[in-house]
């Protein structure tokens, strides 16, 4: 218990952070068919904006203002670039967002430098939230869980319970019909893209403070959230939720396990030198590749993902 409990809380905290990103990505994908490679770059911009604002006006102002800035940037990108590219098919859209990844990373390096910046949670969040089974659960991890649940709850309420959300859901199902009923589908696209970008911005403003704010932060999370979206099933929010917690769990539990594969698979030892090299690996060494192995396995055995309605 004293091992599993903190690991489980870490997994939930990290998994919810991942879900804030994956939810926006999969929402934008199911509405527009755009797989936004730059989604994690928006997360990074959220962290850096929040850092700069926090230095002037304090952490809490940054936490609110940075996501709004990122959402505005996302809406500008959708309105002025992606909408025009859409007519030329998906490949130019993918290429454009991939180019954005490069350019945003370079801009971050030029403006904020190559190293990590000193962006941390404020003193009020540095204490211990509670102690259980002999380990302390830090308050900032609880804060991540709280922010994630609050913002996801707000998005859920907006989409499931308001009139705007009704139009958004209708546009998901049949944009042409919604258009002919007199709604501006283009504006809905911009709004949803802005929502996704804003979620990424919140995740950045929180995740940057809890984890680390550096130019490489987008590259790592970027591929992980793609794995989540594929494993969960393209366009499925429920699948993205389960997959986020699964991947968050894999990463945070395995990193703490010091078991070698050879301990589990004793009989296979000594069959060949190549196999021995694989068996000598520790579980913690496997952690970085497991998400990708999981993705390949899902693609081979269940191509539509865990909860997807169509095949990947």
């Amino acid at each position: 218990m004293d091992f599993i409990f903190p690991a489980a809380l870490n997994a939930i905290s990290y998994g919810l952070l991942l879900f804030m990103l994956a939810a926006g990505l999969t929402l934008v994908f199911s509405l527009m068919g755009v797989m936004n490679f730059a989604h994690a770059s928006l997360y990074m911009l959220g962290a850096y904006f929040a850092y700069s604002i926090a230095r002037q006006a304090g952490f809490w102002v940054g936490l609110v203002a940075a996501p709004l800035l990122v959402a505005g940037l996302g809406m500008l990108i959708e309105r002025h670039v992606l909408r025009h590219l859409h007519a030329r098919g998906h490949i130019p859209e993918l290429l454009f967002t991939f180019g954005l990844v490069l350019v945003i990373e370079e801009i971050v390096k030029l403006v904020w430098g190559l190293g990590a910046v000193d962006y941390r949670v404020p003193p009020e969040l540095r204490g211990t939230l509670f102690e259980a089974f002999g380990t302390r659960f830090p308050m900032h991890k609880g804060f991540v869980i709280l922010v994630a649940l609050a913002s996801l709850g707000a998005i859920w309420w907006l989409i499931a319970r308001t009139r705007t959300g009704l139009v958004v859901r209708a546009a998901l199902a049949n944009p042409a019909m919604v258009e002919s009923l007199g709604h501006d589908v283009g504006r809905i696209f911009t709004l949803v893209f802005g929502l996704g970008a804003g979620l990424a911005g919140i995740a950045g403003a929180v995740g940057g403070a809890v984890l680390v704010t550096e130019p490489a932060m987008a590259a790592h999370l970027g591929t992980i959230i793609f794995v989540i979206v594929v494993v969960g099933g393209l366009g499925s929010i429920k699948g993205a939720f389960i997959a986020s917690l699964l991947i968050g769990g894999l990463e945070s539990v395995l990193i703490a396990i010091d078991v070698r594969l050879s301990d589990l698979l004793m009989p296979l030892k000594g069959l060949s030198s190549g196999l021995d090299a694989v068996l000598a690996l520790k579980a913690s060494q496997l952690a970085p590749i497991l998400p990708y192995l999981l993705m390949v396995a899902v693609l081979v055995f269940r191509p539509r993902g865990l909860f997807g309605e169509r095949e990947v």
Binding site: L95, F98, I289, P303
Partner: protein, 400 residues
């Protein structure tokens, strides 16, 4: 309509021999006493061009946007390094000219393994899966230090094996000829495959996969076969990079290397026979020459890529062939009247934008003028840049 009445200079029958003579000159560059620096740059262009030709086959012909092509390039490069270092192969008398074949086999093997999960679907899912497979292989490097050499990579020596034609290829001028000839052969192979039935079917999967399936041909099988060819060609290109650098590190399987080939192919032109060569030339020049003047060269390269995607989907070769075609129709005077204003506006806007960026970020070490201007110069230049962009927009409206 105009074009029919005019002689077609490019198709007069002298085109192919002229291009062949130009390429032969490039291969024989060492005869003209080029210095070691330019020879190494030239080899880099050839290696990257061979890599980009294999990618053009996937992306340009079949519309398969892979973000993990470095898997095949990198595994080919590592296989070649191990082959060069292997005593058993040296004892068997393997000539160094055949090292790219080892890379080709490695690339083919990797494509057999990874091709199945990635080529089942096209479009966006294909792009995401290749990205994941690329990360999977790159993340393996710390787990298998025996094969990937850990952080240090694997060092080798291209003079370790003897050759059939030359005694060894240690000297830069001999290595240049070997690499250039191999790269030409690989590029020619990729262009030839594009004209075979497989290449034509690949184009059909891009344009109308449903109809192809209706005709009784499974699109994913076509994609898988094309992936095998492209993987083998990329593996051979990776082996060439081992011969050039004599060291292979995890860089060569990284996402950055996958991104490079995509950028080169798109910037050069995904549909044109010279696209990959021009893209490789552009990347190498920016990487080695421009980087001496500014730290922001990657930013400029990324910006160039975005502008290409937005405004010139056929890449630099597309721009060149458009200009040539229009020049034939309009003549020099007509070209100047028609394109003078937009080109001048675009150049002015570009220069002012570069000036702004350089002054804002590297006043002490950037491109020439940045050292002279004070920091507030950036504000003035950016206003000027905005004005030039407005001018560009007006003159482009005049065109349409």
């Amino acid at each position: 309509m105009m074009r029919l009445q005019l002689p077609r200079a490019g198709r007069s029958g002298y085109g192919a021999p002229a291009v062949g003579a130009g390429l032969a000159l490039l291969v024989l560059l060492p005869l003209f006493g080029a210095s070691r620096y330019w020879l190494v740059l030239g080899m880099q262009v050839w290696v990257l061009a061979a890599y980009a030709y294999s990618y053009q086959l996937l992306f340009g012909r079949a519309g398969m946007l892979s973000f993990g092509h470095a898997v095949y390039f990198g595994l080919g490069a590592f296989a070649a390094a191990h082959a060069l270092n292997s005593r058993a192969l040296a004892a068997m008398g393997l000539p160094v000219e055949m090292i790219p074949l080892i890379g080709m086999l490695a690339g083919l093997g990797a494509a057999v393994v990874f091709g199945f999960p990635s080529t089942r679907r096209a479009g966006t899912p294909f792009a995401m899966v290749t990205l994941g497979i690329g990360e999977l292989v790159a993340a393996c490097f710390l787990m298998f230090p025996g094969f990937f050499g850990g952080e240090a990579g694997i060092s080798t020596n291209r003079a370790a094996l003897g050759g059939w034609v030359a005694a060894n290829y240690g000297a830069a001028d001999r290595a240049y000829v070997l690499i250039a000839l191999w790269a030409l052969a690989l590029g020619a192979m990729a262009l030839w495959i594009a004209r075979t039935p497989l290449g034509l079917l690949a184009r059909a999967t891009r344009d109308n996969a449903a109809r192809l399936a209706f005709c009784g041909i499974e699109p994913s099988a076509v994609r898988f076969r094309l992936m095998l060819v492209a993987g083998a060609l990329a593996g051979a290109a990776g082996a060439l990079s081992t011969l050039l650098n004599e060291i292979v590190s995890v860089e060569s399987v990284s996402l950055a290397m996958s991104a490079n080939v995509l950028l080169m192919t798109v910037v050069g032109g995904p549909a044109h026979a010279f696209g990959p060569l021009l893209g490789a030339l552009t990347l190498t020049l920016m990487q080695s020459v421009l980087s001496r003047f500014t730290h922001a060269w990657v930013f400029y390269y990324g910006l160039m890529f975005i502008l290409t995607v937005l405004f010139a989907p056929n890449g630099l070769t597309g721009i060149v062939s458009d200009v040539l075609r229009n020049a034939r129709q309009l003549g020099a005077g007509g070209m100047a009247r028609r394109y003078g204003a937009p080109v001048a506006a675009a150049l002015l806007a570009g220069l002012l934008a570069i000036g702004t960026i350089e002054i804002a970020f590297f006043r002490d070490e950037g491109i020439g003028a940045a050292r002279v201007f004070p920091a507030w110069g950036a504000a003035g230049l950016s206003l000027g840049c905005l004005a030039a962009l407005l001018w560009l927009r007006r003159s482009l409206r005049g065109l349409a």
